[in-house]
Subunit: 284 residues, 2 copies
Amino acid sequence: MHDISLSQARLPATLEIEVFDEFGEARLQAIAAERALTLYLNKREIVTLMTLGADPESLVVGYLRNQGLIAVRDDLLAVHVDWDVEAAAVITRHEPDDLEERLGHRTVTTGCGQGTVFGRLLDAIPRQTLPETPLRQSVLYGMLENLGEHNETYRSAGAVHGCALCHQARVLDFVEDVGRHNAVDTLAGRQWLAEAESGHADIFYTTGRLTSEMVLKVAQMGIGVLVSRSGVTQKGVELASRFGVMLIARAKGRHFQAINAAQRLTLDAVPPRRPGDRTAGGRR
Amino acid sequence: MHDISLSQARLPATLEIEVFDEFGEARLQAIAAERALTLYLNKREIVTLMTLGADPESLVVGYLRNQGLIAVRDDLLAVHVDWDVEAAAVITRHEPDDLEERLGHRTVTTGCGQGTVFGRLLDAIPRQTLPETPLRQSVLYGMLENLGEHNETYRSAGAVHGCALCHQARVLDFVEDVGRHNAVDTLAGRQWLAEAESGHADIFYTTGRLTSEMVLKVAQMGIGVLVSRSGVTQKGVELASRFGVMLIARAKGRHFQAINAAQRLTLDAVPPRRPGDRTAGGRR
């Protein structure tokens, strides 16, 4: 692997402001940072991302990777972030031949944050066949427990989403951002920049909803299992079955709802039944 | 007011799929629809929106209005939505002279759903001076109670955000969509298409976070009070103070956190103190 010229422009994820509560008392509240970062690929303006700013180099690299605007890590020469001008300059060896065509179509997705996919989202196809990763219920529960320690920004400031790359129950990497799609892209960027072990991930976790864009991004990362604390949308389910992604929705405590999981999910830790032991939103 | 040629392409907001729960039991779960709708303004492709599809005509009109791509209602001649080709065709009398320039810059925001603003988001300025709407704590509590009846899709399917236009404690209009920015735009579109009484709204409510884009859109609707069940981001606070928007964050039950509210918020319903009566995320 060659060296990539990298800035180190990390900024704190939160700051404190004074608010007044329902008792009329002033108090300090941590809030999530939200910074504009305009991305230039070989001097061409691509997009402005709104981000926490906690790992901007990984974010822009992952964004370009997940948008298919950088095909392989070796194309990457330099990533320089300068907050004074709110700009990230990325230099690569090559560009897609169809760059203009790709930038011509915008799909504004239902994702939090990075709600744009260049090119036609629903025509997209993952770059690889997905592994039919099996999942044991006990592993799912272990992963959810391990994730408990990984949401610092949310706990203090709210207003962020978290995403994690896991190998079975082990959390390999975890990122929070004001938009969950920034978090996904930051994870993808770290795989290239830090050559993180998260390359071995086989389960993807998000606090956010399982929409079409999330399923597409995870499929493009070559991961076959997508777990969320939240619900799922129609196009998310459609893409998951087209790509062969197992969806585990509404995963909280012992609850979950498995979709597209036949033969791959082993129920080896069925909880004891309790009255009211039902997943929110399900038919009673 | 002239007549606008309008299609009536509303679709159901939810559908049911079979899922397997933690007990290995199959059950029916309602999920939110998520449909792609590509918007053409005078035959020019603008964007593809991912939406529930429950009020597509109002969504596309509100999107164009809030993006500043249609200046006045009288410019609007026709809105035709055809789900067979997932397209919405909008015909207007005029277009902004700087349409190309506007479409050239994309800001991918932290908003759920409509996470794109054409032009430079943070250079934007509201079209009007905002009213310094006063707010009484008792009115805020009354509004939050009245909103309780208005989240049908969320209760059955989750995975949506709700937004409401209110006049003091009264809910004038309420919209849910897979992206909360779609919901904001649908409300703005209804004001033009239905000439809804929501034109008199003085408070805007959202279930979603108070990010830069939400504050900007509400300011552009001429509303001076923005209330959310969720948290706030740094740029949301910056824009609110620049535009003079009062923010009420983390409004749930009797809790809230008021920002940029000095002199405009009257505490006429301070709740009795109870142990642990503290807003989530606040410093203890």
